[in-house]
Amino acid sequence: MLNERAKILAEKISSGDEITASRVISMIENGEDIGFEVLSAIYPSTGRAFRIGITGSPGSGKSTIIDRLAISYVKIGKKVGIIAIDPTSIKSKGALFGDRLRLKSAEKVEGIFIRSMAHRGFLGGIAKAALGAECVLEALGKEIIIVESVGVGQTELSISLISDVVVTVLTPDFGDEIQLMKANLLDIGDVVVMNKMDLKGAEEKAKDLTTYLYDIKKENLPIIKTIASRGEGIEDLLSILEEKRKKGIGDDKKKLKELVLAFLREELMGNLERLIEEDPQFDELLKKVEKRNLDPYSLAKTILTSFFKNGRAEECIWKKK
């Protein structure tokens, strides 16, 4: 049962209202129920936009590549949305969004919608808020949605769940094979880009990477060589992406399952964590562990048992906001 307000907001977005679209993205980021109600209204009509996830270490040139790619897409008549995810400072819980600065050309094009998003320490990775933003941008009329994410780890896995294709960006100073394996950067990549090919020894490194990809991972990943700052290689990247887009975007059941699990993890674990931390009993027990009168495993078990026995499990569930 959708409430009237949600329907009105959904209609506004579909008619191209950027202000409403932007506000609804905020509602989803802030976990407001109305945001998710609007999502329910627009979700059925989504699924045709081509979602490109761009990942790679900081400084690899992701923003520059996205800037060029976005313009290339506009040139072939596509409407583009960009979601730039920046890390949140763990200490201050604030964020300083710097991606827009590097999207110099894209920023000037009125038809390109750019939204910065803070990681905000979401347990499920950034997936929940970013997926919402993707849907809103698609409802707004964007056919190509580029999601840029930072660094490595949980965020990367989440990006793969909400992208139709993942582009991993590396540079010739990526180090050795062990670093690559540890970094998981190539695990989720569908397309690999080696940027900054103008650096010394770039061709050698590109060869090493090719060897690694074919021999060790036994995979047939295309490697695109670019010098994004000069716009070189971007056409090749566009070609490969277009090839994939035309092949068709199917909904991956496995991905969807992981996505929903990520949402659940976020909701349940987030609330559980908060409730436990607020519980004075937790502090008492922690002190016992400090003094080694109790071990951490038993502590965890005690908390969970007393928690669920006391019927507080319901508090872990979605709160109405």
Partner: protein
């Protein structure tokens, strides 16, 4: 989830001095806000466009060029035109005392001439958000 205060720090016009803007941007981040810095030489139209896409709560204009009156006037007009005058505007930079009242009459929530303590800026923004 607690609502974050989203702030846009903008450098309109030809003014090329942005160290102050960057210092404030960083300080606001440390104070727990989500900050977008526009970079130099933005037009008022571009600034309004960014404010819409990022759905910011606060727009902070950093102006060292002396053109704060016409630039602020244009911004306030644009915000009304787009129907987003609920976004609160602050102006900082090289602002003579005699212009502070004029800016406030235009609807600016606070004026921070160079040398304003960061804590004052942070408090003013938090107060304005509560409204």
């Amino acid at each position: 989830m607690e609502k974050k205060i989203k702030v846009l720090i903008a450098k309109p016009g030809l003014d090329g001095h942005d160290r102050g803007a960057k210092v404030v941007a960083l300080a606001l981040k440390e104070a727990g806000m989500e900050v977008i810095y526009t970079g130099l030489h933005k037009t008022i139209d571009q600034i309004v466009n960014i404010a819409i896409q990022e759905d910011v709560d606060i727009i902070g204009l950093s102006i060292m060029s002396g053109a704060h009156i016409p630039l602020t006037r244009k911004l306030m007009e644009k915000l009304r035109e787009k129907g987003i005058q609920d976004k609160k505007v602050f102006v900082g930079g090289v602002i003579p005392t005699r212009d502070i009242e004029k800016l406030k009459e235009m609807g600016v929530k606070g004026v921070f001439p160079g040398g304003t303590p960061i804590d004052e800026i942070i408090s003013a923004i938090k107060e304005a958000q509560k409204e």
